[in-house]
Amino acid sequence: MGLISNGTTLLDAGALDSGVATGAMTLIKTLTASSDGTLSFVHGASSVVFDGTYKEYIFKFINMHASTDNSEAQEFEFNVSIDGGSNYNVAKTTTTFRSGHNETDTTTQLSYVGSYDLAQGTGFQGLTEGDGIDNDQSCSGTIHIYNPADTTFVKHYMSNFNVYRHNNFSANWYTAGYANTTSAVNAIRFKYLGGNIDSGTIKMYGIK
């Protein structure tokens, strides 16, 4: 069924007409973790759009909470795929820095984090470090991914998270880089380095 107003089609076939003003930020998919090993967004699966429809995609992370591994080694991380989620192992070159401050006011940090960057590494990229797993501890943040379907250029991303760490630090993590492929990126996966994603919400948006 369509909806026509004064001769103008507003919606038809389950979609708004392209001439209808809708704003520029569209919610594509929300995933809520419940003791999940991974959470993935794969183009064409479960209503996910992750192709040339949008030039930029934004992922919002709300209170991501790990199930185990309350230590420095814990990290929330991601990787991307060019084969529809069969393999998450695209080479990436990335850069990471952070600022930090603890609750007792004895330590502050502003530093490049050489152990968290990648130089053509195909592994998962850390977005945080040392996530706490106390009941009130979590991390929240954002990733921007630019033009993943482009087949000429590499694919840039930028992220920024705030983390309530296991040792009662607040840490502000910045990570950026590029997936070094000219193939279209069509899937992305998130997980913790150790254990499950106990809880948390990930929302995927497309930017027109």
Binding site: N63, S99, L110, D136, S138, N172
Partner: protein, 203 residues
Amino acid sequence: MGLISDGTTVFDAGVMASGFGSSLTLIKKSTASSAGSLSFMNGSNGVVFDSTYKEYIIFITNWNPATDNKNGEFSFSTNGSNFGVAKTTTNFRSTHEEDATESGLSYQTSYDLAQSTGNQIICEGMGNGADENSCAILHIFDPGNTTFVKHFICQSSTMAHNNKTHNDNVSGYINTTSAVVGIKFECESGSQFDGIFTLYGVS
């Protein structure tokens, strides 16, 4: 009554289905004019600041104090009246002076908080000249949550009183598991200020 097109629900229960329309909702735009403070309180003056949205974004435009060299600051409330909620935060800055004599990137130990209930500075040393001001974007995640602390991330650009540009990066958590219901912006020492403060919800 809902509206369904070809099996796809477009409208129902008075709202447009997700995937239609914009996910960035303008909640409230407030313009400060010689104000002593400016607040967004859930349930007051059309403001929504609760679990309706998982993220709120506040755009601050042309924040200009009446008195020179004043900090722009904010604080949160869990009860609508007391803005003294503990926060642990981190703060770093890149800066450059108009005459190029000074530049750098450094942690700002004077402007972070360690479980402090005081105001968080986000724009340091704002100038009161006619063309001087600060602009900032503040993200607040899930203020209505009653399990976790509340994270926030803020970036600002300031034309400081001494003709420097400051790019301040402040983030941290409001260390409470109570719902945060309001936020207040002030200038240091109660200085009056002008500016536009716009609150958005992210669906």
